[in-house]
Symmetry: D2
Subunit: 408 residues, 4 copies
């Protein structure tokens, strides 16, 4: 790879990406464009601008954007249409944010004439893969710089040294090593590393940042109604809201009731197991709601197909293949199934759990006429079941007859 | 079908199966053998014997058996190795009990020279399918009688009339219609019908029979440890227990903490949607524990394959194909994956939720050496990730290059 | 089911459907509308009109339509985008024609105010299922009459008697029983039954009706080029042709060279195995061509996903679920993959085989620069493979290390 | 990676691996053990011994082994139980040989105290991945040396120079570049590269080495019978033969009749497409035979599950994951399905095609009683089909009713 001339850096304004910024300038002597996005991580963005200026970035090279609506509308919601869970339990909060960041990095590179992008993900994790696969899928000629895989700043001491030598301000609490590593966006907060590295040890309480402990959550349940249209949440308690507003509100509600905590050991795409603590309050509520909505509006053939495709769909997102033909193929199938996933779901929120307790829809396929224990006025002829069973049994009978025949 | 001469009836001792018993005697004039099994439904079995005697069944034709250990060991546990959930949420508590009952019906028919078996499932539900597919798979020549699909006792009044005419004792609370229908065994209690038929209406509190309401559960969390060997639970808090004893104990613990309630609308195999309330306290705890155990002991390749096979496996059990070559094939694959699912999981039980908070195992694949944020002493070379990403990206780059080429 | 008043009958003009026509008139006393479609079965349609008139059908109740273009464009081609093969070998020639016939039956019922449709498929086969599932999926209130499941004309003698009593003309060669049963359309001809019922016995030569025996095919190979656009064949040897014209031409070519014969034992949806002889000359050529086209234009991620979905897609069509949400979901995924399946394939036709010998496309993903054994000018860095392998191997190493550890 | 001390080299005796041998000695100064296996590639092995001696390998460090029986019995046959085809067409002839070679390399390393293994696969292909994943799966601490990824002998000229400088004898025809690259074993011969690199150009005749051109094959068909036991071929025309003998004989028969040629563009695991010419005469015959055997002995539920698992199974083998938990899980499922795949298949071999024309088995599930067009003596009640269809149609009717309701 020839040396880059101009690099767009995914810049948080924090110590680590500030070090990367400076390192790019000194190591490659290249012009740096910073990109700071609000994906709902809950931090002010303006300090990032000030810091970028202070580190010598020209104003026109500082990009700060609020991507929350795009994030929820074009990434989170499509994923939730699939009821996606990685390895049965993880709601993919980190995974789903990466492709959007890469998309903007590549677009800004195009706009600013940059030939490279850079990110602050380490060489052990999944995020490097997600950032880079997305970038390459959108621009096959882009260069991607991953300083953590390249540089020799491999200990906290060296990083601090580099920062001091380069006049990068260091917040007091950043001198020492953080007790764990955090990633956050509108969908979730994840924590991993250090104090969490022994999967036999319970996570300390202070790790949880976004959800009340169930023990401290209100003693009374709260009931809410979520409205859906074509598979996406569109309202809460009758109030129509934008995608990001819905997720924000569900985060407040879920967080208050201690919903969405997950202590999880997962398999990284790069081959090792890692342990993370995930907090996905709004997403956990949303999944329960979406499932409840599908229960009455989704056909069983469609639903079972969706269920069988989901693990692969989730794996693709986890592994960083959002921008791939096969993810898009699966999305096309999933989206097709959502045309009638429209209606309202009633949920109970209480001490760590969101529970669907009612669903109603003009698109419902639930037929009380068919299922009733009462007289059904001819909706269903029970004698049909005899033929249904006989033909389903036919091959089993032939198998059993073979067993008998061969035993004789 | 020629008329049966001797029928083995799945007999609970209750009003409905007593009516069936008498109806078989009068309608077909055939000898009846009763089979009453303890699958953990929580009812005394001896009254069934007395009632059978009273209805004229000869003592040698009365079979009463405790199948709890066989049920958990050979049916429930193999199913839990798969983390089986039907339609993403249902633990299959009713489905998994049916094949065992059919197996014994067919075996008793063989022992007693009966040419038919009979069950009390209606023509609208899944259970008729499960009973009959299992029976035919085990004996292709067996006759199956499903009175609910045949007779004209299609209202409560007619049933009561028939009972009175035939001197079948009727408990006072059975004269009117039950407000909902119940099935129970060691794994779960299900309730459906009548007051539950509107999926928009929350289930009344009195429907729940086996689990404390989360609101009434203890205010303090309880922690337990479950030991696993090759995918099956073998101990609780260090005490080795039999399969049925483990599930019994987990039911107590889960029930006490309000764990395992599910309000669910599902797709029946016979084509309609139905709404059920399921209580699976021990099973819900067990699923969380098994998943926690797999997190550190199961390889990702094996785990992802299992995840992708699970929906089909669950559907097979739900639809009644336990005794089918394809269920056995999937079981062979799943069982192969469980060789190292051995160790101990620590769980928190609190107000409706069982949460894994720790796992340890001599068979662990979790490698702190690889995952650590600290120096890893060469366990993992971060530079390898660059090549890994490049080759994974290659096809995506070629796709992106095509897009560009064609746009020009 | 209340008695039908007006029935649309799928009418071939042959003896059997003429008997059905008369039986409907006499048994149900209902008005009959005949529908005769040209799906490329190679028979004149006008005799069907004359015969219908002769059997008392009013002219406005006689529908005769050429559906060949719709058949290929909207049914055959979408299916071939999937490379669909049932049980690994069968090109689904009968299965794919049924939903179109049902669609027109239901539409004509709507146009003519008929409340029922009728078909001539027997109660043992798949076609009854396909006809009826499609009909119900398009009109939930339609009645479907399947005379073969209802009447008592269960032997050839009775049928002939009924025909004679009702002045239905009987061609001489129809008095006796046919040595086997045939179904034909533009995609294939199938033969089954009677002389073919022993799967150990080779099919007699006279069964084959549409393809030259390979032994009698030309001794010189013939080469053709098929052009594709977005997954569908659009031209042969540079000449743009309509869908039906392409399939017709490929049938001539394939038939001449003895291509597309299949001697097959399959599993029917209704539970038994049956043996059929299929001749699908054009379809066999088309499948080979489409695969060749995909080889250079389809991404591996998309292709592998397609491959994994195909068996289920084929099963759905075979079982009669063309008009189902899950078939449409799969179609949406498959169609999405075909955007770039555009280009030209060169095929060799010789003595029973169609073989792709060349493919070219502006949409090709094949990169000689990457794959070459020669210098590749930096297109591919072989050292990347080391990292790729290391990370793919990581979990396998951890597994092997566990084995060692536990053995010690 | 620290320098290896003793290396086991997969040694063919040819120029390239002789250069590698010398390079290992000079570059790493390590002791070399050579391993030459007969997998049916059709070359004498003793010259490899002489050459190894000549290059200074000590006699006790020269391993020459006939692995043909193990290859077919433990690798080829298990794979054929799955009817494995990569990307719908490729019989995996190269892929399946690699894990066995790696297995022996690792075992010999263990026996000789070597700490490394080496192979002659390039950095662009799949074989490096297959060799190395297998090696690491069997010994997590083994070092693997892949000289083609490391050295600077990147042109033919440099290789020849190195050979001359190191007194490695060079056959005259090896001085120039081969017009294409060949791999062969008992299952297949593959050719790729150079003259084959343009996928639009037909492969020249001289590329085919193992199969007669169909045009030159006998003008009369030949019929053979293959006997199976539990999914594996055990006899030809009644003569019981060992696995390798069977494949050898089928290769002769298939080759003579021009069977098993494939001109193919495939997707490599490392990300690019490549074009190969494969000749798999015996394997192609075997696949057709195995499918024919399964047609009458395999249950549809088992068969459809197998079909759906096959693409993933084939991909695992292609990608080098033979020794992985998920391949073993799939194998367990597949093997379970083969218990009754026992009987005899009759095949026609003619001008490029093997065609099943008859199958018979004591384990047959084909029931003429059920399928017959004649009177079936009550084996099957056609009326059952009505109920079967009604219940399969129920959800489709509910869907159609929804459409209507919403349109109003």
């Amino acid at each position: 790879m020839s040396a880059p001339k101009k690099v767009v850096l995914a810049y948080s304004g924090g110590l680590d990406t500030s070090i990367i910024l400076k390192w790019l300038q000194t190591e490659y002597g290249c012009e740096v464009v910073t990109f700071t996005a609000d994906l709902g991580q809950g931090e002010e963005l303006e300090p990032a601008r000030e810091k970028a200026v202070m580190l010598g970035i020209r104003p026109e090279n500082i990009y700060i954007e609020d991507l929350r609506e795009e994030f929820v509308r074009d990434f989170v919601f499509p994923m939730f249409r699939a009821n996606a869970l990685y390895e049965g339990q993880y709601l993919l909060g980190t995974s789903i944010a990466r492709p959007l960041i890469s998309k903007r990095l590549v677009e800004i590179a195009q706009e600013t004439g940059a030939d490279a992008v850079a990110h602050g993900a380490t060489g052990k994790g999944n995020d490097q893969v997600r950032f880079e696969l997305a970038a390459y899928a959108l621009n096959p000629d882009i260069k991607v710089i991953a300083p953590w895989r390249e540089w020799d700043l491999t200990s906290r001491t060296r990083l601090i040294d580099f920062a001091e030598k380069n006049q990068i301000p260091i917040a007091k609490d950043k001198r020492g090593e953080a007790p764990f590593s955090v990633d956050a966006n509108l969908l979730h907060t994840s924590s991993e590393g250090k104090v969490l590295e022994d999967p036999a040890e319970a996570a300390p309480d202070y790790v949880y940042q976004r959800t009340t402990a169930p023990e401290d959550a209100p003693d009374a349940a709260e009931f809410i109604e979520i409205g859906f249209e074509r598979g996406d949440a569109v309202s809460i308690d009758g109030e129509t809201l934008s995608p990001a507003s819905i997720l924000t509100r569900l985060n407040e509600l879920g967080g208050k009731h201690g919903i969405g905590r997950l202590d999880f050991v997962e398999n990284r795409f790069v081959g090792m197991k890692s342990r993370g603590i995930y907090e996905t309050p709004g997403g956990t509520v949303l999944l329960e709601a979406h499932r409840g909505m599908e229960q009455i509006t989704l056909d069983s053939g469609a639903g079972h197909l969706k269920d069988s495709l989901m693990p692969r769909y989730a794996e693709l997102i986890y592994n960083g293949f959002w921008f791939s033909p096969e993810r898009e193929m699966l999305q096309a199938a999933i989206d097709h199934s959502q045309q009638h996933v429209t209606g309202t779901v009633r949920l109970k929120l209480y001490k760590g759990a969101a529970t669907c307790v009612g669903r109603r829809s003009d698109h419902s396929l639930y037929s009380e006429a068919h299922v009733t224990f009462e007289e059904d006025a001819g909706a269903y002829d029970q004698k049909d079941a005899a033929g249904f069973i006989q033909l389903n049994a036919l091959r089993l009978k032939l198998l059993a007859a073979r067993e008998r025949r061969l035993k004789r």
